[in-house]
Subunit: 337 residues, 2 copies
DNA sequence: GTGAAAGCGCTAACAT
DNA sequence: ATGTTAGCGCTTTCAC
């Protein structure tokens, strides 16, 4: 069962196959009558042009590579959704090259992606890579490249990120403004820039109120509910005086709220809580979780815009785009005290 | 900045480019010394074979198409993650062809996918399509095709699904076994086979205990927390006697639990609740949610296995594979009454 | 063991 | 307006 090719169409109509090419590419120089017959034959034979053959000659694959690490992560999943839609609107497709659970394989996927002639690569994963030489190699080769929330030391990259300093500050201010002075912090894992940024925002908000930044009020988790739960337990142990908590993502906030309930602390009366992300369940937690909403899909969309821009104009200046967050006040943060 | 081709390598070494081809394809007939020099040149020049050119001549793209509808859906996201890993292990890549929010565009993406010479297509989306003619066309053309949880009337498909009848029965039995006789049901949206199946399981479990199946205990949602919340409110209105609830996914269960709390019903003392999916937050709800765990990643993995099987052997018999669910008992379902 | 020739399906110049 | 020639980067005969 051979595929129908341009030549089959041509001989069926009785013209040269180049004429068929003209028709499918909507070129002007072809008689209306001929065009009609060609179109008819295309339909009859069920002809579909081969994108591969086209790519070979045009040297444009209209394909983008996507490197991701974790499909369970709500943030990146949404980024990918936004990116996918944006790419499709512009006539591009994504090839999936995830490296879930095996960051050490990433260089391999990147190579496979470039072998497939992707015109650019989007890195939609956190900055937890050890080996970055393959990325530097890409940069040297001039492969268009955009990352989301991922920076590379000593290299200028085009990255789309969320203003996490501001976000962390918004979250914390929501608490300080209610009069809280002992505000616990549950950080995300080491090595994430967003963690450092949100922490800095936390610090700025405290400073503004003249509250000391104290390590004793800080614990860390790995973004999971369970880690938030455990961090909160430790925090309750070492800093029982806290009256508020900023958890750097909603999942940890939810785990922390469970620990608080188990410890008999009421939310928000005894301990006010603010999360980060605004995942769908946040509004239905007990109590509904105040949080910071991030424009995740927008991140993906902008990333694709910049990637296509870089493809069009490879020597364009690399730049960093920061998107704003929004504070969503629900019940867990309490009112004014 | 031209790409380095096989010919560049050849002339650099001083051999014909066919010899280089032999080396990169690990063919035997090449002198060890020549091979070494070629390999050396490949490294020096940074040569990468063009997968596109290779595909053109070999007529194998080693690419699979992925049709999906919603990256926010935990189930399908996990299926995709499992599928992606399985595909990569077998040397295949996925091209993303989602049709999020625009099911009417699906035929277009399918066409674009086949133009890209995908060797097979995985449909990882629910069965809510109106227009199915493009899928029937694919079937007629003999394009290898596997779906997850999607059936097509009047066509024999290879589909990987979860045994939702059994799952619904497990969920409901967990409630009947505790002595509940007035068990409410919050269904997912119309048109989903999983909804019908879970409902049938609910019915079977009731039958087994000699409990009447009553429409008055049933409400429907759209899978979201909010819809579960509203459905529960309606249910409380029309069937205040219920002492238990089976919500067909966790997100609706979480919404329902909020409605129950607001109505002053304790969980599980007044109303026991069981969900479906075992999403990550389920264990950290208030109270922790009993639920049915589905082997989502396994679904993706098996789907890819079957797809590659169909590619190898196009006339292989189509078949349906049903994976088992697992009841996860936490607090929301209560103990024995 | 290696090279020459042909061709995968298509586009793009150049003829006519 | 249409056909001819060449070539994209590679694999695969078939010679030598």
């Amino acid at each position: 069962m051979r595929r129908v090719t341009i030549k089959d169409v041509a001989s069926h109509v009785g013209v040269s196959y180049q004429t068929v090419s003209r028709v499918i590419n909507d070129r002007p120089d072809v008689a209306p009558e001929t065009r009609k017959r060609v179109l008819q034959a295309i339909k009859e034979l069920g002809y579909q042009p081969s994108a591969i053959a086209r790519s070979l000659v045009s040297r444009r694959s209209h394909t983008l590579g996507l490197i991701t690490a974790d499909f369970s992560d709500y943030f990146f999943t949404q980024v990918i959704a936004g990116a996918e839609i944006a790419a499709r609107e512009r006539g591009y497709f994504f090839i999936l090259g995830s490296s879930e659970r095996k960051p050490e394989d990433e260089p391999v996927y990147v190579r496979l992606l470039t072998e497939r002639q992707v015109e650019g690569i989007l890195f939609a994963r956190p900055s937890t890579e050890k080996d970055t030489s393959h990325i530097r190699a890409l940069l040297r080769q001039g492969v268009p490249l955009v990352t989301t929330v991922y920076y590379l030391e000593g290299e200028k990259l085009t990255v789309v990120d969320v203003d996490n300093v501001d976000g962390g500050q918004q979250a914390t201010e929501c608490l300080t403004k209610s009069g809280h002075r002992h505000i616990g912090l549950i950080k995300g894992p080491e090595g994430w820039k967003s963690v450092d940024d949100r922490t800095q925002g936390y610090r700025l908000a405290l400073d503004r109120e003249g509250i000391d930044f104290r390590e004793g009020l800080i614990e860390g988790g790995d973004w999971s509910e369970e880690s938030g739960y455990k961090a909160m337990k430790r925090l309750l142990q070492k800093a029982p005086q806290i009256t508020a908590l900023f958890a750097q993502n909603d999942r940890m906030a939810i785990g922390a709220m469970r620990a608080l309930r188990e410890a008999g602390r009421r939310i928000p009366e005894d301990v006010a809580v603010v999360g980060y992300d605004d995942i769908p369940v946040a509004a239905y937690c007990e109590p509904p979780l105040s949080t910071i909403r991030q424009p995740m899909r927008e991140v993906g969309r902008v990333a694709v815009d910049l990637l296509l821009e870089a493809i069009e104009n490879p020597q364009a200046e690399k730049r960093e785009v920061l998107l704003k967050t929004e504070l969503i006040v629900r019940e867990s943060s309490g009112g004014r005290r």
